[in-house]
Amino acid sequence: MMMENFSAAFALALDPTGLAIMLLATFLGMVVGALPGLGTVTALAMVLPFTFVLPPAYAIGMLLAIYVSSVFGGAIPAVLINVPGTPQSAATSFEGYPMAQQGDAPKALGWVTVGSTIGGLFSAVILMLAAPQLARLALEFGVVETFALIVFSLTTIAWVSAGNPLKGLLAGIIGLWLSTVGTDEMSFTPRYTFDVFALTAGFHVVPILIGLFAVSEVFASAGKGVTASVQSIAKAGFKVAPLGEWWRLRVTLLRSSAIGTFLGILPGVGATAASLIAYAQARAGSKKKDSFGKGEPEGLVASESANNAVTGGALVPTLALGIPGDAATAVMLGALIIHGIQPGVDLFNSNGDLVSFIFIALFIVNIMMLLVGGLTSQLFTRILKLPHALIMGGVVALALAGSYVIRASILDVWVAVVSGFIGLLLRYANVPAAPIVIGFILGPTLESSLRQSLILKGSDPLRFFESPIASVFFAITAIVVVWPLISRVWRRP
């Protein structure tokens, strides 16, 4: 059965149209990732409307390519102009830029590209091995356990994704509330529609995403008054180091890939933390500690293999449990649901072909990233010179079109624009946008599992603790929330 799934998935993955879409998306993802201020979630949000006309497999392939390559793309400006395209590549600039300043930008891009590919492939293997096991474990989950799992994930994501946990939680709650607007699916009761017919269908995730991540960036750029293009930029190229030098870094590569994959599986930690931790580990364990900060390849590959390894890791709970680990996988989850695919146990049982396709596609896009990265690296010297204001103009045109085409509703464009402005205010107040999206996407499942659990347990929430799995999740949630407070009190003199 498994082999049948794989052969069908291979046929799907090697389809020329699908490959062409993935190739184009890989380049597009790299470009968007390389443009500072946009990032992975914006890239995914902007292409999501284009996937509506594609068959599910092509759409998933396209989104996977954007996801993986945009994480990598952030490393290119980190090396060439010392400005990471995405926060995930912050540690890359510590070594990449000094190397570029020494005239070794092509070599730095070689380390970064191959390191990212190795991290991505490592995490794809772990995804292939771990996701089916986790999905099998999830067979034990009823509505109470599902509710407890979502509470745990959402709390953890909100708690760890911001400097101030209260703001992360508030963002998560806003997302949950937004998901309740419209007709309630269980009782068909309209909620918060304020007699506006268009609101009975509720909000769609795409305009919220476009607003919070793309439109808010346009407003933020206006606030900063970006005018000048980048003047000082190293000449890009692509040069892979000899095999012997890679062999010397094998332990760092393996350790960083493992760190990235593991942290990717955990909710809320994300690629930024993974790359910084892997970089710190590489530095601590290196024989060349003094050369760190001066263009040490070991630091480069540690950071890049870790942040790209997060991609496969974060897909493990997304596919197996339907619980996204970060905003990017939340968008992937939303895209799957839009295409009529419900991640979780059922996906593995009823749609084995598609699951196998996702595994294979992840391998393919990582290899494509290596090829496209190698072949197009010289283009980035020009791309990074594009005036930021003009790029924002493109975002405006895409935002207007992208938010309208989903349901051919002007309400969705209003939602994108207004959430863009709210997103800007929240950004200025240091409230993270990611928990809003995750709360919005997980909201319907959280609510239905809560209501069904209460009906099942005779409206007594204390009976939720009759389930050992749910009790464990509630206990971990409590520890996650209380631990930082306890440790703060502990540290006080």
């Binding site: 409307p49 309740t180 206006a222 008054g225 493109g394 045109a397």
Partner: protein
């Protein structure tokens, strides 16, 4: 250290919104008929709204407590350009249906880019028209998705 003034403002505004949401939550839930043992469709929204208010209050209180210790400066932002871009986006949204995407998008792009600070008007115009037309072509003509048609297209 975060700016406590923005925390106070965030907590206050968000708290007021939360309180405003309580009213429809209770008013609408009164009209719902429930069978014995059934859970109201407003049960979860009530929890969310109360958590929203509680967290807003906590953020505001934290801001008030740390206000004295704070000695940072407010970051300078060009609010004129921000509001200008927002108004352009609102106008573009309002006019997109009657005038069509092909008319509204290039103007919105051009003015937004200008407001952001780019002053090469010729390049700006070419980019605004080309990007909008390409997107329209890709989404509407090739992908077959619906975009508001220009008034001359009927």
């Amino acid at each position: 250290m975060e700016n406590p003034r923005s925390d106070i403002a965030l907590g206050a505004v968000s708290g007021v919104i939360g309180l405003a949401l309580l009213l429809p939550t209770y008013r609408e839930s009164e009209n719902v008929f429930l069978l014995p043992g059934d859970i109201s469709p407003f049960f979860a929204p009530k929890i969310f709204v109360f958590a929203w208010i509680g967290l807003s209050l906590a953020i505001m209180l934290k801001g008030l407590v740390t206000l004295r210790k704070w000695s940072g400066e407010m970051e300078h932002r060009n609010w004129g350009a921000i509001i200008g871009t927002f108004v352009v986006a609102l106008l573009a949204t309002g006019l997109m249906k009657p005038l069509g995407y092909l008319v509204v998008a290039p103007v919105a792009v051009f003015v937004s880019v200008w407001l952001i600070g780019y002053r090469n008007n010729l390049v700006n115009l070419v980019v605004a028209v080309t990007v909008s037309a390409l997107l329209y072509l890709m989404l509407s003509q090739i992908a077959g998705l619906t975009l508001p048609r220009a008034f001359w297209q009927g």
